[in-house]
Amino acid sequence: MRIRVSHTTTYHYDTPPKGVTQLLRLTPRNHEGQYVLNWRVDLSEDCLLHQYEDAFGNVAHTFTADGPFDELKVAVEGEVDTSDTNGLVAGAVERFPPSMFLRDTDLTQADSAIAEFAAAARASAGDDTLSVLHALLTAVNEEITYDTDPTQTVTTAAQAFALKRGVCQDLAHIYIAAARGLGIPVRYVGGHLYRADGVIAQDAGHAWAEAYVEKLGWIGFDPANKLCATDAYVRVAIGLDYLGAAPVRGTRYGGSGETLKVAVQVDQSQWQSQS
């Protein structure tokens, strides 16, 4: 599938800041099921955009824009060719052994409720890691109601689990907390999803999890849609949790009254047949 993504983050300031420094993880990389045809990052201010590879192997950009300005726009846009690999992520950049992804973070700390929930899922699935992961996928999807209202980016897995509500990010965190508690290495994936219902304009990127299964490798699990990642998924960045893979992080000097608007468009590009 050829997917066209455009992701624009616009900051508006009531009082213009003196400067803004940001770290962007907005650029996807290739792996066996994904090939980036073209990709560009555009900023509304003139500044040096420095590209590097972070510890996880994500492509990251940093920049410092000198103010004052009322508005800052970070736009990325590009096309990616994807193929369905049944969720398997092979040939991606791997900088750490899988066991590193057993590490807990503040956002993915499992409390006793999640631990119980995970144990129940395991009890129903038996010993096979893959069936445990699938059982967990169904359980998280059914337990948590998708709701954009009550949670924010700083909501932890335990808080969202107590609310029984959350967005794709919270569902991914809960899934990660539960699976790590069972001793399965899992990581957070930020990216984009071409929606089956044809909705092109979205409010944010998508998030899901990748779990490591011996002899198979990393497999993408999307608890928000109860699916393993397909060719509708564009994988952009990985991390231990949302903070590690966040599309934009940054700080500003001075200024106030910051409002943020994110516009994401994920569409299928002009059709190409595969012979």
């Binding site: 290739n30 090939y35 193929s83 040939g91 190409q272 047949s273 595969q274 012979s275």
Partner: protein, 313 residues
């Protein structure tokens, strides 16, 4: 475009590129063998040249010993060797003749002129000076062909197929050099820094015109792992595997875009490029440089087969 035309263009470029590569190997070997024995040790450079050209079986059927005379004759002039420089130019010219109308005048002049001039060298040069002159002429002929293709061809499928041939062949050639010399590039080589290695590394770099580039990129004395890094993973180095694959993918994407469809060749090329992009030299050394290169050669051949399957037959 007829697949026969595409096939001829693809192979025309491959043959010209291969001829140049053989000239480069012979040139580098000649330099190496001209050094005092104390520097280069007892290894037989001429035998390794035959190995690098990938035709040692055929060679040892015809000759008993790999020495300067035999190897130069075999790789440059032999009619018995289907990939000698002479055979390459002859096949390139016959390919060119059958797609005469798909070539520009300049390209045809370059390839036909080369072929005519080849006769002037008769059965081969008799002295070392003449051989050097001949090898330089081969490289210049290839440059002339390549340059006229670059400057005069329309940017359409004919151009993309011809470029594809250049880069598939070039990737194969660089990988072959690395395959024969890989043991010199291993980091645990005991005699690291000895004069033997220094000249060998310089010869590897020289055979792909990268000696100056090396110093620009690394600003260091020759280190084997950096030589390997330059020739495998550096996209800015025009003969590195990574750079060849960048170009292969680009040209295949152009073809895919123009024909509105893509298939196995594109997938294979992107897969290999992804692997090169996602690799680091430490990882490659850990899993084995030799294994990596042998696998690359196999995968590159698979790409050649996929291109043939998809477009050329």
């Amino acid at each position: 475009m007829l697949s026969r035309t595409a096939d001829n263009l693809f192979w025309l470029s491959r043959y010209v590129e291969r001829a140049e590569y053989l000239a480069r190997i012979l040139d580098a070997t000649q330099r190496l063998s001209a050094l005092p024995l104390a520097y280069v040790g007892s290894s037989n450079e001429w035998e390794s040249a035959v190995l690098t050209a990938g035709c040692s079986n055929a060679f040892f059927k015809l000759y008993d010993e790999a020495n300067e005379e035999n190897v130069t004759d075999f790789l440059a002039f032999s009619t018995a060797n289907s990939s000698s420089i002479r055979s390459c130019f002859e096949m390139a010219r016959s390919n060119a003749r059958s797609v005469r109308t798909a070539l520009t005048m300049e390209m045809w002049d370059a390839i036909n002129g080369t072929w005519l001039e080849l006769k002037r060298f008769g059965n081969g040069p008799t002295t070392r000076e003449e051989t050097s002159r001949f090898l330089r002429w081969v490289q210049e002929s290839s440059l002339r062909y390549d340059g006229s293709a670059y400057r005069t061809m329309l940017r359409n499928d004919a151009y993309w197929f011809s470029r594809l041939g250049v880069y598939v062949e070039r990737a194969d050639n660089t990988a072959r050099i690395l395959d024969v010399k890989y043991h010199l590039l291993l980091p645990d080589n005991e005699r690291v820094g000895g004069p033997l290695d220094y000249f060998q590394w310089a010869a590897i770099l020289r055979s792909v015109s990268a000696l100056t580039a090396y110093h620009w990129v690394y600003r260091e004395s020759l280190k084997p792992w950096l030589v390997a890094d330059l020739l495998i993973l550096r996209e800015e180095m025009p003969r590195s595997l990574a750079s060849c694959y960048e170009a292969i993918v680009r040209n295949l994407d152009q073809l895919g875009g123009a024909y509105g469809r893509q298939g196995a060749a594109q997938r294979q090329a992107r897969g290999l490029r992804t692997r090169l992009q996602n690799s680091k030299m430490d990882g490659i050394f850990q899993r084995g440089l030799h294994e990596f290169i042998s696998e690359f050669i196999t995968e590159n051949n698979k790409l050649g087969a996929a291109v043939t399957e998809q477009f050329l037959i």
